[in-house]
Symmetry: C2
Subunit: 103 residues, 2 copies
DNA sequence: CTATATTTGTCAATATCTGGCAACTCTATT
DNA sequence: AATAGAGTTGCCAGATATTGACAAATATAG
């Protein structure tokens, strides 16, 4: 439900860093980092990259968690959540196939 | 990419209705319906229900398309789009299992 | 040319997001 | 019990985005 923030906190603790130290590197204030770790606010796209560099952790992994949180936010209250995901997935695959055939 | 709007338009045409006629039932103006059909604007949650009633078409189907469009909007620009979807899917299943066990 | 259907562009009002700060809690130290 | 450091909570003003509404443009058919 807040996979990105949890991962960030985990990585920060594994690196033995304080919020103060990480926050300054990402150029945000400490309360903001606290909120991101607890899922009260979303990080910005560029900050995901910065986090991955600070913790030397694959950006794709972080990005997936960050996106997943945003997707979850969209569908969480609907019964057809899972169905909607698979509709999106199909559409995405269709698009990918089209773009692959065109070059 | 605009699955909801396309479906709405299709249903409207199958019912032989004009935008003017549908718009008044959904209580929106005609330009707005036009934009929704072309994916330039999003319908509101309640309007999805209204559409399903007007066209006598399963709400779940429409809702899935409507949600899928919103999800697509979130992930469309990222390489890890598909991966992010499966992360969300797993999280969703996990939640569902937890809530099923508690009653 | 006229009428009707649809699309496009624009704009103010409203809602949402963002960054930043002050104040608070909690824990450990002296 | 006072101080200090780490993290949290609440709040607010400025920036951004979304919305509904309307006028005008385009398209199509008679």
């Amino acid at each position: 439900m807040n996979q990105f923030g949890e991962q960030i906190r985990l990585l920060r603790e594994q690196c033995g860093l304080l919020q103060r130290q990480v926050a300054s590197q990402v150029e945000m204030d400490i309360p903001m980092l606290s909120k991101i770790e607890r899922g009260e606010r979303n990080a910005k796209r560029e900050q995901v990259t910065t986090f991955s560099k600070i913790f030397n952790f694959p950006e794709d992994e972080l990005l997936s968690l960050w996106l997943a949180d945003k997707v979850f936010e969209v569908i969480k209250n609907e019964d057809v959540a899972l169905k909607a995901l698979s509709v999106t997935e199909n559409e995405l695959r269709k698009m990918k196939m089209l773009s692959e055939n065109s070059h």
